[in-house]
Every structure is written in C-alpha cells, then in structure tokens.
Amino acid sequence: MKNLFGEVPLRVLAFVLLLAALVLAFIAVRVLIVPFVAAMFVVYLFDPGITALQRRGLERGNAFLILLMIALVGITIILMFAPAWLRLEAIGGSSDTLTQSIQTQLTRTERWVDSKFPMLRSVNITRQISARAATVASNFFEELPGLITSFAVNLLLVPFIAYFIIRDGKAIKRRIVRLVPNRYFETSLIMFYRIDQLIGGYLRGRLVECILVGITQTLFMGVANLFVDQPQILLISAVCGITNMIPYLGPVIGTVFGVFLYLSAGLPMSSIYGLVIAAAAAHVMDNIVIAPAVLSYNVDLHPLTVALVLVIGGELLGALGLLIAIPVASSIKVIAQEFYANYQLQVR
C-alpha cells in the first residue's frame, strides 16, 4: 500500500519526526535549564525554613508559599521604605554618553601616559580603543533590555518550578530509588543522601555569601555616598551580589556593570573611584570574613576549570549561563567525588 507521503518511506518520516522532537526537546531544555537550576537554588535556600514550618505541621508546598510571601513582602517593604541614601532614583544613561565618557577618559589616560612615557607616544591608544568602545557601549545598551526581560521571565518561572520541586521532589526521588536494582539500591540511597547534603550545604553557603556581599557593598557604597555622588546603590549592589556567584571574575563583572552605568550617566570620575573602592572593600571583606564564616563546605575548582566552565556556560546559555555554570560544575564535581569515593570503598 502506498503511504500518504508518496515515495517517502515511513521509516524516514519517523526519523525526521524523532529528530524534530529531539531538537524541540533540546530547545525546551535549553530554555528551561536556567530557571530549573535557579529553582534548585531557591529550594536549597528555603529548605531549612520549610523543615522548621513542617515541624509545626505544615505541608511542604504550603510552607514554601508562606516563606515566599514573607520574602516578597519583606523586599517590597525594603523598596517602599528604603532610606534616601540607597538612591533608588533613575539615572538617565545613554550609549552616546558612555562612548563619550570612555573616550574622554581614554584621552586623559593617554595624555598622562604620553607625559610619563614619551616612547609610547606612537602607539596612539585612544584611536585604537575608542572605535571598540563605541561598539561595547552600544552592545551594553542593546543587550541590557533583553537580559532584564529574560531575568524577569525567569523570576516568574523560578518560584513556580521551585514550588513543584519542593512539593513533589521527595516523592519523585523515592520513585527513582524504587527503580534502582537491589544490588545498587543501598549504594544509590547513600549517594543520593550525601550528594544532597553536600550540594545543599555548598549552594546555601554560596547564596548566603552572595547576599552578605550585596549587603556589605550596599553599606560601603553608602559610606562612599557621604563623600562622592553614588546613585543606584541598591541596583549595583544587587548585581555585584548576584555576580559574586562567579569565582574570580564575578566581582569584576559586577563592578564593570556599575562603572558602565555611571559612565553612561556622565557622572564624574570621583563617583567611579568611590564605586570601585567600595566594591574592592566588599570583596576583601568577603575573602577575609564572610566566605570563611559562611562556607562550611567549599568546592575548590582549579582557576583553569573555572575559565573553561565559564566559557562553556556563556556559550551555551548566555549571560545567565555564566551565573549558573560554576554551581552546576561544583555540583558535578561533588557527584563525581562521591562516585569515586564509593568506588574506592568497594574496590578495597
């Protein structure tokens, strides 16, 4: 019998459909991977609170909703009654001002370099960089709305996914464990438990660290605001807190965001110096006080691994991929370590 598609064999059609389904699944996973990982963060962050409410007889899903409400109300109150020094007022910024500010600054720097090192006069830094600065500036302003939109979409999606992970996660885990053959049942149970404990401890630690870094930066920028003009303290501190998730590069990325914002608003260099000093002070505080106190379990990744993981994360999932790359890589390292330790134990 001739099929509906003439000469095309059904097997080819099935293959094409399967391929299309795989492509769609990849796109769906790609789209969902960031909110899913972010939801896992939320789950681990809220877990101690949920357990405490569960002890009082509340169901896990309801406990999460209550805690989420409290968090949202808290943030709204902070934003509504934020002290004046947090400087929430909008600063008008444009890519033209940013390019101009970068050019002015570069010319000034070049003039200073030329006066100190006359042999470098022929290099002509300004002309070479200013062309690129214009591109960077326009890119910054072109990508910012997209980034904010995708961040806002994820912000709505994350609590939704987190709610279902919290409500049904344990049942799903039990169902997965039930499928494990008897021979590996106990091993998988122990591994699930240890990995959960380690990743939970690590992610909670990192999140608390980021929140504290954000608060510290807010305070330092508040102090800087007494001496120099420091608008948008809360926004810049929040970005610095979030980007702190990325080791080594995170504080730099956060600070560069602030510097670009100030340059685009045409603020004087004193404001930028104030911001950089506040960010540096917050970073020092993080390394000396916050991180040692908060991180009970630290997953040390080699700087080269960090670079590689960031490139892969950025390439696959863009700016948000940069944020989740390190926690995901650290979690994979914890799982691999646990598998290896277990294997060693069995070999012995």
Partner: protein
C-alpha cells in the same frame, strides 16, 4: 556450616501479622511509636522484593540501614563467596537485621542472602535523619529503641563470650 551466634534473633516473638504498620510495631525500635507515628513511618520505609539466592547486602560494603522481613527467609552469612561460608543466622518473617548501619558510616559485617523469594521492609539512615529533623519526638523514640536494641545485642554478646571463656577455661579475673 551453621553457627549459633548473636545473629540469631533474640527478639523473635512468634506469629506475625500482615499489615505493614503492625509488622513495624512488633520491632523493638518502633514499639513505642503511636499509631499516627507508625502511619508516618509507613510512608518513609522502602518495600523491596528479593529473588531466591539474591544478596540483600554484601559483607564489607557500606551499609545504609536495617531490614524487616515481611515474608520469606533470609540467611546472614559470613564469608559468603568463600569455600567455607558460615551461616550466622536464618531469619524469617517478622525478624529484622542490619540495624547497626542506621547509625551511619559503617560497613556490613556479614552478607544477607534471600533463601527464597522475600519481601523486605527497608528503613535507612537518611530516613532516620529525616524523621529526627521533621518529627523530633518520633525520632527520639526510634533512637531510644535503637539504643535499647543495640544494648540488648551487646548484653547477649557478653553472655555468649562469657560462656565461650568458661568453656575454653580462659576466664581471667578483671584487673583492679
């Protein structure tokens, strides 16, 4: 080869009932739990089915927790894969084993093998930790039951060791 040893079930009470909660209630670890707590426990435990000669756990491998036999028979064997395995105990429905692993980070001291098709109720270290975290009163009852069970096993071991010492004539006065 068989051995009359501490693995023999000293807690065996007789004919067992069928319901999960009722079986659990006969185990010394869970004897003090209320019916509501037993219902909670029912939701936490894992039901596993083993075929004849299938190993439940293997000697020296890390252990996760204890098992209660719901149906069938399980042998606890030392040196299972060797030429001279030693059967430490033959357990039947209502018996339990492996409770020391509930304390965590211990390796199995013997191998457990299903002699025939057996249905086991598993209760593991992560489950105990979760109960302690969510229902502290219930967790305390189970922990106390576990302590009592281990103490009973220890007392039984001491008696057996004393008997062995007397038989061998190596009994010595304690050093003061």
């Amino acid at each position: 080869m068989r051995a009359d040893s501490i693995w023999a079930n000293i807690f065996r009470l007789g004919q067992r009932k069928e319901s999960l909660a009722e079986i659990l209630q006969t185990i010394p670890l869970f004897q003090d739990l209320s019916s509501k707590e037993l219902k909670t426990l029912e939701r936490v435990v894992h039901i596993r089915t083993y075929q004849p000669d299938e190993t439940v756990f293997v000697e020296t491998e890390p252990g996760a927790g204890m098992y209660v036999i719901r149906s069938g028979h399980v042998d606890v064997v030392l040196r299972y894969k060797s030429d001279h395995p030693l059967i430490l105990a033959e357990l039947q429905a209502g018996d339990f084993f492996g409770e020391m692993a509930l304390l965590g980070d211990t390796s199995r001291s013997a191998t457990a093998v299903a002699r025939e098709r057996a249905e086991l109720i598993g209760f593991f270290h992560p489950d105990l930790i979760e109960i302690i975290s969510l229902y502290p009163a219930m967790g305390a009852k189970i922990s106390f039951g576990l302590a009592k069970t281990l103490a009973e096993r220890l007392r039984y071991t001491n008696t057996q060791l004393a008997d062995v010492s007397i038989i061998r004539g190596t009994h010595e006065e304690p050093v003061r």
